[in-house]
Amino acid sequence: MSGGPGRSGEYRITGNRRKWAALAVLTLAAAGLLSPWASDRPDGLERVAEDLGFVGREAAVPAFSPMPDYEVAGIPWEAARTGLAGLIGAVVLGVVLWSMLRALVKKER
């Protein structure tokens, strides 16, 4: 699997920090700036549910999510509601994954 001995010709993730920094910038831009302008047409599954007539089965089990539909409540501008929700989600996920994986993957030796 990945992370085997360093045979040349074997591909692995890049050690180029600039590329990862670029991915971080791209992530924040996508979550914070681009997300409000994403298409709001139904996605593949929603479309199939409409076409085959089972969209009505959807039942919201107690809606306790703090930011339903990727919107932070209480902000007058819709793009900011979505963009802020995206930023919060991306940052929370990054932090949670980092700490979870760090705890999981032990230091060598």
Binding site: M1, S2, G3, G4, P5, G6, S8, G9, Y11, R12, I13, T14, G15, K19, W20, L23, A24, L26, T27, A31, L34, A38, S39, D40, R41, P42, D43, G44, L45, R47, V48, A49, D51, L52, G53, F54, E58, A60, V61, S65, P66, D69, Y70, G86, G89, A90, V92, L93, G94, V95, V96, L97, W98, M100, L101, R102, L104, V105, K106, E108
Partner: protein, 223 residues
């Protein structure tokens, strides 16, 4: 492609919740050995990128949209178990914070996108590389991504059919058809990201897995 609450019948969502929890636990356990410590920041960042990219629905033909899934990308970069763990974290966050994907359907969503998506993507990627003797990685990545999202969609279709939401043939055909189209976008994004974020294995030791294989000289070439 997040199944909301209500689409699945009680038997199906109960069974998939149990199976999904077991799969998630197994993925976490296997991630311990599959992922190496220096890869942790990159894996966390990839998870955040996948979440952000999933928000960007792109319009496709016929008044429908698609969005990036990411299972294949994570599997190509870090291996299938780590990918399953990352995707599970994405799904839990989306369901709990954003009400995207039902809580009762979380297990089903984990099975389809995190497990099926990651392993289908990884299997196709490895098989294609072997078939083409390591050449044409772009083709291998594209194929892995396309198969990954289509396989996940077929898994969802199967669960919907089992739940009596729609006739098996109709729902399978419709899910396959739309996601075969969405899979082109999935393939393009995955290929671009995978080619950009990987390199040949003779580079610096900092971000490679060969630390554990004895060659732990700082800055030295891996054995």
């Amino acid at each position: 492609m997040h199944i909301p609450d209500g689409y699945l019948c009680t038997e199906v969502w109960t069974a998939t919740s149990v199976a999904g929890a077991a799969a998630a636990a197994c993925a976490l356990r296997r991630t311990r050995t599959e992922l190496s410590r220096p890869q942790v920041p990159a894996a966390a960042l990839t998870g955040a990128f996948i979440f952000a990219a999933q928000m960007l629905n792109f319009p496709i033909d016929g008044g429908t949209s698609g969005h990036f899934l990411g299972s294949a990308l994570a599997a190509i970069l870090f291996g299938p178990w780590t990918a399953a763990a990352i995707m599970t974290a994405v799904l839990i966050l989306q369901s709990v914070l954003f009400h995207d994907g039902g809580i009762t359907a979380l297990g089903a969503n984990i099975l389809c996108t995190a497990v099926i998506g990651s392993f289908a993507g990884y299997g196709v990627y490895k098989a294609a590389l072997r078939l083409m003797k390591g050449r044409l990685r772009a083709v291998a990545s594209f194929a892995a991504a396309w198969v990954s999202i289509v396989a996940a969609a077929c898994g969802v279709a199967l669960l919907l059919a089992l739940s009596g939401a729609a006739a098996p043939g109709a729902v399978l055909g419709a899910m396959f058809g739309w996601h075969a189209l969405i899979g082109i976008g999935e393939g393009l994004i995955t290929t671009a990201a995978a080619l950009c974020l990987t390199e040949r294995g003779t580079m610096r030791a900092r971000s490679d897995g060969s630390f554990r294989d004895g060659a732990r000289v700082r800055g030295g070439a891996p054995a």
